[in-house]
Symmetry: C2
Subunit: 262 residues, 2 copies
């Protein structure tokens, strides 16, 4: 696999996975030629492999003939423990947090140098956000991302800083030194804020979720209108995150895992 | 692909997809030999393909060395429109329904002859259920399943009846004639109940979600303790399902789709 882009040097697995990887949240529907181009395959090869993927259910044809990811791949993917285990434990706490605040509740994990959103509760009253479940956002501009940066060791910070801190809004922290100071405070308080740093009009407050080994597993956040006093919500997020961490480490989790194997 | 199980007759795509298909909600972690057995591949082939899948992120190694579905496959899978579109539209309505009732709220679609659960809201007060997101349950024993059977045409009913109506509890309807009568009432009222027919101690009430073309897209349900008056909750479920149907058919949906393409 790796960087070999020549047709001859690529395994069938590599080609097949390239086809699946061609779909993104911005491009969930692709024609055969878009699919071939994105996966750098000849049309005939893309056609044959797309048909095999469709037969299995990994891809489906949309009404307009374009390809989309199929339901079968969704439920195989939903077996990924990063989503499955964490979500089952976190949901009741996220629900409590939503009910107490009526704001967007979001659960995210690290995926490389980005925050990946695993789950989200939002009501008809919550502020509209840019977050999508299974979508990615930058670490330095989001509350959940700052939690991930603060608790993931210096290598990640160095890598993110080396890429440059992209200005998402006029409020985004773009200076690595300023970000480093902020992260030191985050490590101290175990709370991170994003004050219109990702989206103008929206702010967030996030807290860490730790596993039994004390390592960061995920980050929980509330996203609110920037007119809301987000600092007043820090204790609520912190409480819910502690509840999830406790449940993930404790005997309840073992019982719940047995339940899963049933 | 299809039913050919001989090593020689199988394409790489078929082998690769068999590996992914070996994982189920009951067996989310597999050793290499379990993987080889479930996908009917020689160990060496399973090993090579599992490594390619792991390199790409479709599989991951658990701490104990077993394989599990990887985060990358989860987020590619999450692009499946069956999950993505419906969930985004349904979530605020599901949230309202949860808030009004504090009971489990579930969203399911048809997957072959089973109900596939796409999403679920449950709080600390809700009754424990057997439902898992991305899990399957039988059609004849669940509220969402009866909705699917009632609005999917006679072929599905015939196929399900031909398989035999498995007795899940002493209350499960196991006679096709009785089920047919029940489904006629469901078509009339647009409401289906499961009164301890799937799990002793839990009952459910479900309503249909239709697309712009009038075809059934999904089913929405509340699952409650059997001591709760589930009939009194029918109007609430019905209201939320109508709201989702309206939003999926209306101009708001178009706006939301543009938003997705951003």
């Amino acid at each position: 696999m790796g960087g070999n882009t020549r047709e001859a040097g690529r395994s069938t697995a590599d080609r097949l996975l390239s086809l699946l990887g061609a779909f993104t949240s911005k491009r969930p529907l692709l024609t055969l030629s878009e699919l071939a181009e994105a996966s750098r395959l000849p049309i005939a090869t893309a056609h044959r492999l797309a048909r095999e993927l469709t037969d299995w259910g990994a891809l489906e044809r949309h009404a307009d003939g374009r390809f989309q990811i199929g339901l079968k791949l969704w439920y195989v993917g939903a077996l990924a423990p990063g989503h499955r285990d964490l979500r089952s434990v976190a949901m009741p706490f996220m629900e409590d947090l939503y009910e107490a605040t009526h704001e967007n509740v979001q659960l995210a994990v690290r995926d490389g140098k980005l925050a990946l959103y695993l789950d989200k509760i939002s009501g008809n009253q919550s502020v509209a956000t840019v977050t999508q479940v299974a979508g990615h956002l930058p670490l330095h501009a989001t509350g959940v991302g700052k939690i991930i940066l603060a608790f993931s060791g210096p290598e990640l910070f160095a890598a993110v800083a080396a890429d440059g801190l992209r200005r998402c809004t006029p409020h985004t922290i773009t200076l690595p030194g300023v970000l480093a100071d902020t992260l030191a405070q985050v490590r101290e308080s175990r709370i991170a804020f994003s004050l219109e740093e990702m989206t103008v009009g929206a702010s967030s407050v996030a807290a860490p979720i730790f596993g039994a080994d004390g390592k960061l597993l995920a980050s929980l956040a509330l996203v609110v209108r920037s007119s809301t006093n987000v600092r007043a919500l820090a204790a609520a997020v912190h409480t819910a995150a502690l509840g999830i961490s406790r449940q993930l480490s404790g005997p309840v989790s073992a019982g719940w895992k047995r339940n899963l194997d049933r």
